[in-house]
């Protein structure tokens, strides 16, 4: 249904053009939008007019018109004055509101359709039938972007995304919850994954600078048929999750670039617990002090290079060797040895994943 705000804008706009006072009421005489100061005086007349067979009528110095939505009486429009000119204005405004209803319904239907597609709520046969009815192309390249805002119901972020893509009628912007904005974007034939990354970065920078919102942007893979939109959406969702767990420093995350995080994210929790028990023997890497954790991370960052790590940590090489020996003693893993280092690295990632999953369960 059209919001009262849109109706009010319409009657205000029409009044400023025609100088005719207007009022829109529902069929029970409740005022929805008006330029008249005391519309409640006409409540009973509206009720009577709605029940009558007449399409228009002059009552108490106003011309009354009926506005239909798909043959169903939706609104009563009142135009002040009984002249022919006012009659013409009233007819025009009634037609305008009726057109708004059609346009809004179409948009609303499209939005509903896309939401149902994203959430896998449609049968395959319905997807193609409804897409045809709504004039949505079925066999074009598309991708789903997911924009997660820090604050719930970030209207500035939504408005910014809408404005960036509103010129393009083939892109859809919707939301299925309060923290995520979904953009289903149609792609040109020659658009590559590099272009997708550029679009994601543009979204990030625009939301940062214009809406001043903290956001993360992720996207799925390119799909070629409308039925696969939910797949691209699920991929974007997974990319966002994997990014949050393993790549906190990245603000843009692509499903096709999740690295080892992709594998760990799919592990069942029972397997993770078994693996961690095997590696840390019931202990948790959280038991390491901060200094040890920083040392381990720096050592990994520098590709197991002792000299470079000690230089970056501003410690003597021997101090680093001592710390690595200490870790070896408590875990039986020598981080200078590639196999042990990779086991340790994966174990740290698994622990992070387990913590994330536990935080969701709680």
């Amino acid at each position: 249904m059209i919001s009262n705000q849109i109706l009010q804008n319409t009657v205000d706009g029409m009044k400023s053009i025609t100088r005719v006072d207007l009022c829109v009421m529902d069929t029970e005489g409740k005022t929805l939008a008006s330029t008249i100061s005391n519309p409640e005086n006409y409540e009973n007349s509206v009720y009577t007019f709605a029940e009558s067979q007449a399409e228009s009528q002059v009552i108490q110095g106003f011309q009354f018109f009926k506005v239909y939505d798909d043959h169903q009486l939706e609104y009563i429009l009142l135009a002040k004055g009984d002249s022919d000119d006012v009659y013409m204005v009233g007819k025009m405004v009634a037609f305008q509101i009726q057109s708004l209803l059609v346009a809004y319904k179409e948009r609303f239907d499209k939005d509903n359709f896309i939401k149902s597609l994203l959430l896998d709520n449609l049968l395959l046969v319905d997807i193609y039938n409804r897409a045809k009815k709504l004039h949505i192309e079925t066999d074009v390249r598309r991708v789903v972007y997911l924009i997660e805002t820090k604050n719930e119901k970030d209207s500035n972020a939504l408005e910014t995304v809408r404005s960036l893509f509103s010129g393009k009628t083939k892109d859809f912007i919707t939301a299925v919850d309060e923290k995520n904005i979904i953009l289903v974007k149609e792609l040109r034939k020659n658009e590559t994954y590099d272009d997708l990354m550029n679009t994601a970065k543009m979204l990030l920078d625009m939301l940062n600078t214009e809406a001043m919102s903290r956001v993360r942007v992720s996207y799925g893979t390119i799909i070629h048929e409308i039925k696969d939109i939910s797949r691209s959406y699920k991929e974007a969702k997974m990319a966002l999750d994997v990014g949050k767990i393993f790549y906190e420093d990245r603000r843009v995350i692509a499903y096709n670039n999740l690295g080892i995080g992709r594998l760990i994210y799919q592990l069942p929790m029972s397997l993770c617990r078994m693996f961690i028990k095997e590696i840390f023997d019931g202990k948790s890497p959280d038991d390491f002090d901060e200094e040890t954790i920083v040392t381990i991370n720096k050592f990994f960052e520098n590709s197991l290079n002792v000299s470079e790590t000690s230089r970056q940590l501003y410690i003597h090489r021997n101090t680093l060797v001592y710390r690595l020996d200490k870790i070896q003693k408590s875990t039986n893993l020598d981080l200078r040895v590639f196999d042990d280092a990779i086991t340790f690295k994966i174990a740290l990632m698994v622990v992070k994943y387990m913590k994330y999953m536990e935080s969701i369960d709680n």
Binding site: N156, S163, G167, K168, M206, N208, T209, E248, D249, I293
Partner: protein, 372 residues
Amino acid sequence: MASLKLLNINKTYPNGFVAVKEFNLDIKDKEFIIFVGPSGCGKSTTLRMIAGLEEITSGELYIGDKLMNDVEPKDRDIAMVFQNYALYPHMSVKDNMAFGLKLRKVPKDQIDKLVNEAAKILGIEPLLDRKPKALSGGQRQRVAMGRAIVRNPKVFLMDEPLSNLDAKLRVQMRIEISKLHQRLETTIIYVTHDQTEAMTLGTRIVVMKDGVIQQVDTPQHLYDRPNNLFVAGFMGSPQMNFIDCTVNVQGSDVYLQFTNSEISIKIPEARAKKLIDGGYEDKEVVLGIRPEDVKDEEAFIATSSESSFDAAVKVYELLGAEVFLYFTVDDHDITARVSPRTTARPGDTIRVALDLTKMHIFDKETEQIITH
């Protein structure tokens, strides 16, 4: 307009990655500060922390006198211009500039006033009714700047705003930004990895590496008196020549002997004293000399016999106003920036001399400066 104070700012991600470490900086009102460094050095992270788009792990950030750590980005009175800007395609230039203000529910008459003022400053008044597709690249960039200017912020934050432009437009916009700073008289913090942008725009430059400030100084001072090997190598193109040497003391004279070479140069007395006082006798150091301080002019060589040596020219690069000569002297690669009148060509062996008044000597282990 405002000053900024960053006190012991740290950024550590939950995975333990330290992006910024103990960042301390005072930025004065109306300064044009540049954060420069290689990618991953923490410059953008620092800027994003100032913007409020990234949480500060520890430390304090003040804009003016107000502690900003927990203030939302939109309430910090800042405006940002980032690399991947876009214009709203269906909106006019005027509406593009006004969009952010509309989101913030600024009254319409005030929006009109601010947009018109910004358009005047940027010289885009005649373009206000145009749509983005009717604008050139430079004009679009100006509109993007305009969106920041209309906010009338205390501080402008710019993160590589020119890196998506072609080389010619980048030079043009660099000049525009410099003029803009003079006109707006406001504080600007600008992130770049391009040292030319840093040198030409900044009143002060912050050189960063691995999340740590290496040096904060004026462009000229940074170039002339780098604190360490990293800064010396990062600022200047072609970069400073670095030659590994051993310090030889013979009586009261101190010589730098090029590693794996017979070449030895005598160090001026004041610098020699610093080497002796620092206990560098027989130790390895790094001699740093800028390409323009490697001379091939006969007159200079004649007066600098103690720092001259023969070198075989490998590559000759004519850039119009200057020539770069690339030599290999034993194991050491050296570049000289000389006059285009030089007769040296690849394959020639010519005599060159180092201008020892401009030399820098670094500790090989700590990479810190010993003497300029």
